[in-house]
């Protein structure tokens, strides 16, 4: 197990190193957009809506935006950047010529995607704390959850990437998968507002559980009931990782 972790880390380290080289731009892009969304929607919409689900709208929205940013960071990495490494630069071929298996490469990649989400969440959390939107130590629990969310969405993105023949393919996933998911997962409004049938469906979406975890934690409430959502995410992550390994093995080692 230690030996395996060492191999995953070597893949992780490569990506982390590339990221560090361009970190300044990456950091800027990473939190400017979510911050815009938060402030414009939060103050703009918030002035009409007032309180939602017992929270001022800005507070309500903060959790949703943070969850979405964590998802986006890993999704972007798992689609565009992973595809580049796999199909354009053939970075993975180089790794597979070394004593790494495809499972090692996928694990290293997925852990890196978790890290990207962690970084994105960390940045936003800092800003939220500055605005007084994250209070109490419980908010720090958001960070490991963002990592877990990154693993979920990163591995799901890798499954999509395993089918891709060009970058264009990702537009389908984003418009048909990611965008509706954001709208249905309680990011902008509580999912109680959805018709009951849709609501049940929305509870199957991973982002729903991420939002359901992050929002109360930002407000400072640690609750054992939240563990149910963690369990769902863990199960989702494990199945997506296995699926990604299997799919990429079909594609790359035939």
């Amino acid at each position: 197990m230690l030996e395996a972790a060492r191999r995953w880390k070597s893949v992780w380290r490569r990506n982390a190193w590339v990221w560090r080289k361009g970190a300044r731009t990456a950091l800027l892009g990473g939190f400017v957009e979510p911050l815009f969304n938060l402030l414009i929607l939060g103050f703009g919409l918030g002035s009409y809506v007032g309180r939602v689900a017992g929270l001022p709208y800005l507070d309500f929205l903060a959790g949703g935006i943070l969850a979405t940013s964590a998802m986006n960071a890993a999704t972007f990495e798992g689609l565009y950047l992973a595809y580049t490494r796999m199909a354009v630069l053939k970075t993975w071929d180089g790794m597979l010529a070394a004593p790494l298996s495809l499972a090692d490469v996928v694990m290293g990649e997925v852990l890196w995607m978790g890290t990207k989400s962690l970084i994105a969440a960390g940045l936003i959390l800092t800003v939220l704390a500055g605005f007084g939107l994250a209070s109490g130590w419980a908010a720090l629990a958001v960070l490991p959850l963002a990592f877990l969310a990154g693993v979920c969405f990163g591995s799901m993105a890798l499954v999509v990437t395993s089918f891709a023949r060009s970058y264009d393919f990702f537009v389908y996933y984003i418009t048909l998968g990611i965008t509706p998911m954001v709208l249905l997962s309680g990011v902008f409004f509580p999912s109680d507002a959805l018709p009951p049938a849709v609501r049940v469906g929305s509870e199957c979406l991973p982002l729903f559980h991420v939002v359901a975890l992050i929002r109360p934690l930002l407000a400072g409430g640690l609750d054992l009931a939240l563990l149910g959502h963690v369990a769902v995410l863990l199960a989702f992550a494990v199945s997506m990782i296995l699926l990604a390994i299997w799919r990429l093995e079909c594609r790359l080692t035939q």
Binding site: W17, D93, G94, A98, P99
Partner: protein, 309 residues
């Protein structure tokens, strides 16, 4: 005739299908420590596929394969810690400098930074890249990239080096450069397997040639033996506007073989002096009279049509 050297690669009835198509078809061969083996064959012969199976990157459809005593593909990952691989298409990490590439790659092998500090300068020296140590990959010429790919494959002090067309697309000088590098490595005891489309390269470097076509082995021996066993000793190669007219003017000669490849006419035989003299009276023909070489064997054994087209 048992060689005392242990086998590095043992392949038995190695076969691979892509869909219905049998791309590698029942290969049997042993490669022993210290050998320098060239795998030759037309485009699509199955060379790359064979190498990919060998390094454990794609499972054989059937047959047995072991490399350095490891069963492949089951123990492929462990085995790869002890070999070096240079791919047909460079996959250097363009986000990094030359040294960073080597450090990252060493990381995949689990090599300690301390060991790399010693190893990397030595590799840079070998690849004549010492003054490019901190250059980005984009600033390197094709030849430098290729040499770096080879250096990278040596990061783990491998016992076997596998190269897929290491000199394709490089200018003659760079090719000589790489040949020197490989020869030096062989002298240090490394076992080397390469594929190439350059017959001269194979003839110069390889102690043994495995000639493949359509997934099968057509011949397997040293270049000298191949030439001796498969082809007449002399070749007359004729081309030019009038070449065809010249050929038609010939009376049928005994003990000779005549073939056409594209616009050239090849005559093979023990002694072709008379034929050469017959060319003196012709304008508009160019010819070369020479000893038979590996290319002649290649053309003869693989057939002359372009069957990958």
């Amino acid at each position: 005739m048992n060689s005392p050297r242990p086998p590095v690669v043992v392949a038995r009835q190695l076969t691979k299908y892509f869909g219905e198509k049998r791309v590698v078809d029942g290969l049997c061969f042993d490669i022993r420590q210290g050998e320098f083996v060239g795998i030759l064959g037309p485009n699509g012969a199955g060379k790359t596929t064979t190498l990919r199976m060998l390094v454990g990157n794609t499972p054989p459809g059937s047959g047995e394969l072991s490399v350095l005593g490891y069963a492949i593909p089951v123990e492929g990952r462990t085995m790869r810690a002890r070999i070096g691989v240079v791919p047909q298409q460079d996959n250097l990490d363009i986000d990094f400098t030359v040294v960073e590439n080597l450090r990252i790659y060493g990381g995949y092998f689990g090599l300690a930074e301390r060991a790399l500090k010693v190893r990397i300068p030595w590799l840079l020296e070998l690849a004549a890249l010492t003054d490019k140590a901190h250059a980005r990959i984009g600033q390197l010429s094709g030849g430098m990239k290729r040499r770096l790919s080879i250096a990278r494959a040596l990061i783990n002090e491998p016992e076997l080096l596998v190269l897929d067309e290491p000199t394709t697309g490089l200018d003659p000088q760079v090719r000589h450069n790489i040949w020197n590098m490989l020869r030096q490595l062989q002298n240090e005891g490394l076992t080397i397997i390469l594929t190439t489309h350059y017959m001269e390269e194979a003839e110069r470097l390889c102690g043994r040639i495995i000639l493949m076509d359509r997934g099968r082995i057509l011949a397997d021996s040293s270049p000298q033996v191949l030439i001796r066993d498969h082809i007449e000793p002399h070749v007359l190669e004729v081309h030019g506007a009038n070449a065809e007219n010249w050929r038609r003017s010939l009376v049928r000669l005994e003990g000779q073989r005549c073939e056409r490849v594209g616009e050239s006419i090849f005559h093979y035989g023990d002694d072709l002096e008379t034929l050469v003299r017959s060319l003196d009276s012709w304008e508009g023909v160019h010819y070369v009279y020479r000893r038979a070489n590996l290319e002649d064997v290649f053309l003869k054994l693989t057939g002359r049509d372009l069957h990958d087209a």
